[in-house]
Symmetry: C2
Subunit: 427 residues, 2 copies
């Protein structure tokens, strides 16, 4: 170990990546820990679930961050606990790792709010594994119905989604387009028009943080694409072949996509600090954990507020990326003997895609956009977010090609049966 | 069911696809059965195993063949037996399927030749699942060694390959390049130069069907890339952390890639006909199964000979594709009341890639090519084989990009844990 301060970064989402990029030229030693060896470009996860993009189009190798830098290590491993008193992180397979500065950026996990059956039968959509599993399930459902059309009466082609936030809205719109175009062509002998996308949102409106006219536009655009939208209705029970609604009604379905809530990564329970809403870690204006200087929490695992206005910040990739960059700069300042600055969030707008050529955008100036102009803005912002030249190029090529030709990816089911009986030692 | 003759095509490899393309405009009803919903472009499988291409770059949806054609059905299902007497195929989940004409194009499975431990611990490389599993294993091995460098002394970085045919040679060359370039950059803290690719071939020469000077060139080109080549040596036992050679020597390794042999898909045992070498189905000059007019066998499952010269045909994608087209035309002729013609194989040459910028080509005229010219020929032929415009474009873009930039794909480990406890009904 060198005598440089040791910065441990837990998580390679937008927050962790932003911090590494700002820190790696500073006079520090960096250790990055994540259980996956790739960064997931989460805003486009629903496009993997609906087979518009392949998993490798939105998964970028963490080890690329190391090229040309000798002061960074990455270990693909799971952090299982944090001991703030002894300044160590317990990492499976590595043991305790000592830190001088710690960045907790491990994101969230799904929150089923104790809904009976949800953890067995619902499909969350937050991680790459979730998206791959959901895509496989949708395609496998069609193959099963192809062999046994009686499954249609059993609800196999009712695709239900709960949660009318950006994830639920974007997924529903994209799935409706997949059904009406590609799957209809792929299954000429099936009554694909009987397939339904049904979106439930417990509150009275979709896209809660958006202005009323954008909420109405989104609902109308979804309905034009064939999505049934039910607001004021939640899901109270999930069974393998049906769901129960908060209204008491039962709906036959083999697919409930859970886009209704997140909670902080459970590692927060090892911290021994008071937690906020959804188990999130409260942080000060400079994103440091109270009473623990040098420990930062950012992104979906943290309850971040704007350092100037005190407003709660939205749970977006762009927010986490800005926060990551800020603490990267902060740690570099602290190491150089300077003081930490408060984090000022630069609102670049909020947006959601409802379908091809349809999006809603709330501009930072207070204005709004809808329709094709909004969609082009959405496209531009996401391409800009995909920074780093390699990522930009390959995804851009694939994506641009799909958009121009109105073609999707592959709609193939890649199984991944682990070699049964393979008894190689570790690994 | 219509009164058109019913053609059942088992398998969507080069043979099955070739047959469908020639038949779908004829006055027949076609049913395609395959347990996967995609065609695998097998000549580039080793590039998936070494992460030069993603699985979706060489997997093409079978259902694309249906678009615009009302006389084709596809079912993703496993054919478990063929009853030649009753002209039916037993299909799991569908029951017996009656045929008027049958195309058996189900390919091969790995042949371990009863080598002890091989079925538990060796990695075959014949299917897409094989390639994905092998790639994951290689990347996971590096992650494990990164956390525990002592595994190097246990042989974790010895990558052994048995079988010096095209698959073994192409995989070894590509893996050596992956180790020396990308993985060295990805693991700056590991002694990646200690990683070895060791290729064993039981016969005295690599690439048995090629001319001697091409065999020597291939061996030299592999050795220049750092591959240890051992000819005259086979593998006689496989353990999880070592292999035993035919010489009696033991070599520590966690990875033995099995490229040493194939046998016909075991469905051949249900036919009740005498079988040839490796269980292959003997066929006549017109590719019909003896005494069973209207039943054709092609590709790796068949012992095909040239209808003119009687020479045994090479087990190549190009051979299967030509054979598939021929029987597509033959069935169309038979339906129209014409006679079957013998299959005349058009030799377009044989080739193997040893590494970037290095290949060997045996021209149909008897000449040979090596080095960069051979490699460009290899590239051109494979791009031409990737016919069908969509396939050509997307793989071409990805591939061209990688070749021009000397960049690989992603080197990321996409896990695919099935949702534990997911108890949805079928599916």
């Amino acid at each position: 170990m060198s005598s440089q301060p040791h910065v441990v970064i837990l998580g390679t989402g937008f927050g962790g990546i932003g911090a590494v990029r700002k820190l790696r030229d500073a006079d520090v030693q960096i250790t990055i820990i994540d259980k996956r060896d790739y960064h997931t470009f989460q805003p486009l996860l629903y496009q993997v679930a609906t087979d518009e993009l392949g998993p490798e189009d939105i998964g970028f190798p963490v080890r690329d961050l190391l090229h040309g830098h000798t002061n960074i290590e990455f270990h693909q491993a799971t952090a299982s606990g944090i001991d703030l008193a002894h300044k160590t992180v317990e990492v499976e397979g590595l043991g305790p790792v000592l830190y001088d500065y710690l960045v907790i950026a491990l994101g969230a996990v799904v929150n089923f709010f104790h809904t009976p059956g949800a953890d067995q039968s619902a499909f969350p959509l937050y991680t790459m594994d979730d998206a791959i599993r959901l895509k496989k399930h949708i395609l496998e459902t069609f193959e099963a119905v192809d062999k046994n059309p009686a499954l249609i009466d059993d609800g196999a082609l009712n695709f239900c989604v709960v949660g009318g936030g950006a994830t639920g809205v974007e997924f529903s719109g994209a799935l409706a387009e997949l059904l009406r175009a590609e799957l209809k062509e792929d299954y000429p002998n099936l009554p694909v028009e009987k397939a339904q996308v049904i979106l439930y949102e417990r509150s009275p409106h979709l896209l809660a943080p958006f202005e009323a006219k954008l909420q109405s536009y989104a609902q109308q655009a979804l309905e034009e694409r064939g999505v049934q939208v039910h607001t004021g209705v939640g899901v109270s029970k999930v069974d393998p072949a049906s769901i129960e609604l908060s209204s008491g009604e039962t709906v036959k379905t083999h697919t409930l996509v859970w886009a209704a809530g997140l909670q902080a990564n459970p590692i927060v329970n090892s911290l021994g600090v008071p937690l906020g809403h959804g188990g999130r870690i409260p942080v000060g204006p400079d994103l440091q954990v109270k009473d623990h200087p040098g420990v930062f929490a950012i992104g979906d695992i943290a309850a971040m507020t704007d350092g100037e206005t005190g407003k709660v910040l939205p749970g977006l990739g762009a927010t986490a990326l800005q926060a990551g960059r800020h603490i990267g700069e902060t740690i570099a300042s602290l190491v150089a003997g300077k003081a930490a600055e408060p984090f000022k969030y630069l609102d670049k707008g909020t947006m959601a895609q409802v379908g091809r050529g349809a999006a809603v955008v709330e501009l930072p100036t207070g204005g709004t956009l809808t329709g094709r102009v909004a969609w082009l803005a959405w496209l531009g912002v996401h391409l800009a977010l995909l920074n780093g030249s390699e990522e930009k190029t390959s995804t851009f090529v694939e994506w641009g090609w799909n958009l121009l030709t109105h073609k999707r990816g592959k709609r193939i089911i890649l199984s991944d049966e682990e070699a049964a009986g393979h008894d190689n030692p570790d690994p």
